[in-house]
């Protein structure tokens, strides 16, 4: 349970308002700096996530979207200017590997987040919910949903509009 009392209107002009206190827990004063990789003072730290996994979970979908975006723009221009047909199927097929990989980053993030979440109750001395990795993984899950949607929508643009500019005589 958390009790907060802060009032921008009043209170002394000093470092902070009333401290947030966690009833029943010796909060703040006893809490070590939580770190993912360094056990401290008997409190089990958040389990470590490998940097590569963390990077893929956090930024993987965004980077995949950036690559996919440039790729479909390039493919469209290439097919239209090269006179090799519209290339619609090729553009749409790009959704499969890129969409799957983008979704995979979210799935990995979710699985890792579940693992970390299981250990969270041991860290109730902290004022915050979850450590560094947990927060980055939550961001990764949300980003994966957004960028997978974007990849799919862009890949299927040729369904709705003609692929190449109209050539005027």
């Amino acid at each position: 349970m958390v009790r907060r009392a802060r009032d921008p209107d009043g209170g002394p002009a000093r470092g902070g308002g009333e401290r947030e206190t966690h009833v029943g827990v010796d909060a703040g004063r006893r809490a070590p700096i939580p770190r993912d990789d360094a056990p401290e003072g008997g409190i089990r730290p958040e389990r470590r996530v490998r940097p590569a996994t963390l990077a893929f979970s956090f930024l993987g979908s965004a980077v995949l979207w950036a690559i996919h975006f440039n790729l479909v723009y390039f493919l469209n221009t290439l097919f239209c200017s090269g006179g090799w047909g519209s290339g619609d199927v090729v553009v749409m097929l790009t959704a499969v590997p890129f969409g799957a990989a983008s979704a995979a980053s979210g799935i990995v993030a979710y699985r890792k987040w579940r693992e970390l979440r299981a250990g969270r109750s041991l860290r109730t001395g902290l004022v915050e919910h979850g450590g560094r990795s947990s927060v980055l993984l939550v961001m990764g899950i949300a980003a994966s949903v957004l960028f997978t949607l974007l990849i799919v929508l862009e890949s299927f643009a040729p369904i709705y509009v003609p692929s190449c500019p109209e050539v005027r005589p």
């Binding site: 921008p8 002394p12 401290r19 004063r29 700096i33 979207w65 560094r132 927060v135 980055l136 862009e154």
Partner: protein, 848 residues
Amino acid sequence: METGTAPRFDTHRYFVVDEERSREFERVWGAAGGILGYLREINNIPIAQRYIFASFAFFLVGGAFALLMRTQLAVPENDFLDPRTYNQLFTMHGTTMMFLFVIPFIEAVANYFLPLMLGTRDLPFPRMTTLALWTYIWGGLFIFTSFLFGVAPEAGWFAYVPLSNREFSPGLGMDFWDIGLSVAEIAAMGAGAELLIAVLRMRAPGQALHRLPIFAWAMIVFAFMIIFAFTPLIVGTLMLELDRKALTSFFVPENGGDPLLWQHLFWFFGHPEVYIMFIPALGMVSQIVPVFARRPLVGYPLIVMALVAIGFISFGLWVHHMFATGLSPTALGFFAAASLLIAIPSGVQIFSWIATIWTGRPVWKTPLLFVAGFILIFVMGGVTGTMVGSVPFDLQVHDSFFVVAHFHYVLIGGVVFPFYAMLYYWLPKVTGRLLSERLGKWQFWMMLISFNVAFFPMHFLGLLGMPRRVYTYEAGLGWDTLNLVSTIGAWAFGLSAALIVVNVVWSLKRGKPAGANPWNAGTLEWWEPSPPPNAQFKFIPFVRSREPLWDQETLGPLPEEEHEERLMEPLRSAPTRWRGALVVSVLDARPIAIVQMPRSTIWPFVMSVGFVVTFAGLLLENLWILGPGLAIIGISIIGWFWPDKDQDAAIEEIGTEPGPGKLPLAVAGPISNGWWAMLVFLLVMATALATFIASYFYLGDGPGWPPVAPPARSATLATLAAALLAATTYLFARGVRRKNLRARRIGLIATTALALAFLFPAYGAWTELGLRARESAYASAVVTILGFEWLMALVMLVLLGGAIAWAFTKPKDPRGDGIAFLAELQGYFLAASWAVVFVILYLLPRLW
């Protein structure tokens, strides 16, 4: 309320300090007096104040231009301004607001508050901050001096080709714009890089990524966006200037060039630019809302995700400024999808702020009112944004006043209102005095109402067919009343926006003392006294929460943190002989090193003068001006990097080797800030090369491209030299790491010989083509790419010169190792970039 008192935490044992040491600490970080002292100042607090003042002055001038334009449009067939002056005003209004106000203002605020929020004593490169300030001021004044000569630019802030080429914009006006803008943008990039390294590496211990203030996250995204967006603009303006000087043909259709390339380059910068301005504003709002809602921000991870996502997606929107240029419908579909979906992360933040206010106990002070105004106006601008993101609708309202209304709702609502919120929130920290609440509330309501009076009618003007960028219009088209209303609103808005000046003056004379934390906020900037001293964070705080002033009993170390406290012992109210700060690990903010910060110096100012003289020489094509300018730059580089006594003292006191219970001094390699700055520099260079190569491919579908398979004899020799250079670079770097002086010296000399050898075939690769750049877009693209490689080789030679000087004079000095590691990075980059260039310019054409 008390003023300037230390917060309650000073009773903790951690903060008991020897007063003599404390005074010495303040002296070392203090400012010198007099005019020379003013020019030598590099501390972030006074430099940021000057930055804020200069950018706000440009804001007032840019606003005055807008009022003159609105006065001209108040009635039909008005002759208050002639067409040329009107064109100059709308060009300079956009240029001033975009380049000389918003970005510098954001960087100024970040320069001031980021170190305070992060619990660090200064930014990592204070001399760079100072150089950026002066260069920005000179660049801005450089553009404005064009008015004095009656040649102000008049091709719009977007400078579309062919309107901006020499044929349609003769004279020096666009040259002023091109060169002045490049100067200001280089300054902005320097400041951006510094802010990035500050957030990543200079924080209080414990301030891990998940505890960063949202504003700091926003600045990470902001800095990356600046690197990737501003570089193409600078490359584009370079191409434009070369075309204007009749040296190249990038945008000349009869020589194989393409004017649309300019639009691609400009809007690849221009659209992310909107978000570059907007993202820091979002960060500011996320700082303000929790304080006045009296609860932590709802959805911290989602807000950060939204900032990062906006940063990415904003680079996939640029073509929505070019929907009417005849691109393929499918390509328009890609950009329309991105334009519409960026509303999702934007909406996430809006809902998060609303939820925070909804579930909190809001206190409706002026900053929160401006935030509410921002939400209202920005949502309206966002709705029209999704409308123009749709291709059919955009084609209907393209280049009409509807678009003017849309982007002013976004920019004023999304940027200026948060700026005012921020001013009311943070100015008490800067001045030490509270602003008038009553005047603030009056100002808010006046701005909110007058803004809508000024800009809402423009939607209807656009739908009624009024085009933008026209200096007058005929009567009887149904536009008269709406224009008059809009002008009245604009004047009211201008006057109400200027009320902040009145409020600041009132506050300085009569405002109540603010105390350290007048709002009872939770982030670290409110721990230091108001105004904060130059010598900030005498005691480095320990962070265990996103809002440490709310959640922590003490900012001192807990028993579990005594190990880290001992590590930081040299920084505890010390060192006293030199300026020292803490370097932490990127993810977890664990102390990893101590860094020696430079003291006041004149060289950043001198270098900025060198820049402006050099650019004046380029503008006037006068070697007698250009030569001295380059000489000043060269001298100031030497002065800048000349070893000083502080460095000697720091190395002597701390040493560069880590030991048990001891942090090393960060001088060389990945532990040093200079190495990270080199990485950022190379990222910028890689982006520049990518822009050149993208332009090469874009122009590549022109007639007769490439004319023949280019001769590759010299290029092959250059490739051989580059490959050997990579190998010798590895050898000298290994020599440095293993303390093998012989290998280091031989490796450095061999690498220097190879870098020199590289220059000749790289030049031959150009002459073998036998083409003149002014007559062929292909040759223009090739010569700029090869010129880029030449420049990289020259940078390599400069670094190698420094590394050799250290290796032969003071081989044991760690500063020599530092410059050798920078040369190592540059060496690998030179070799890799040349390999890419060789494949693209010389191998691919043989496959076509």
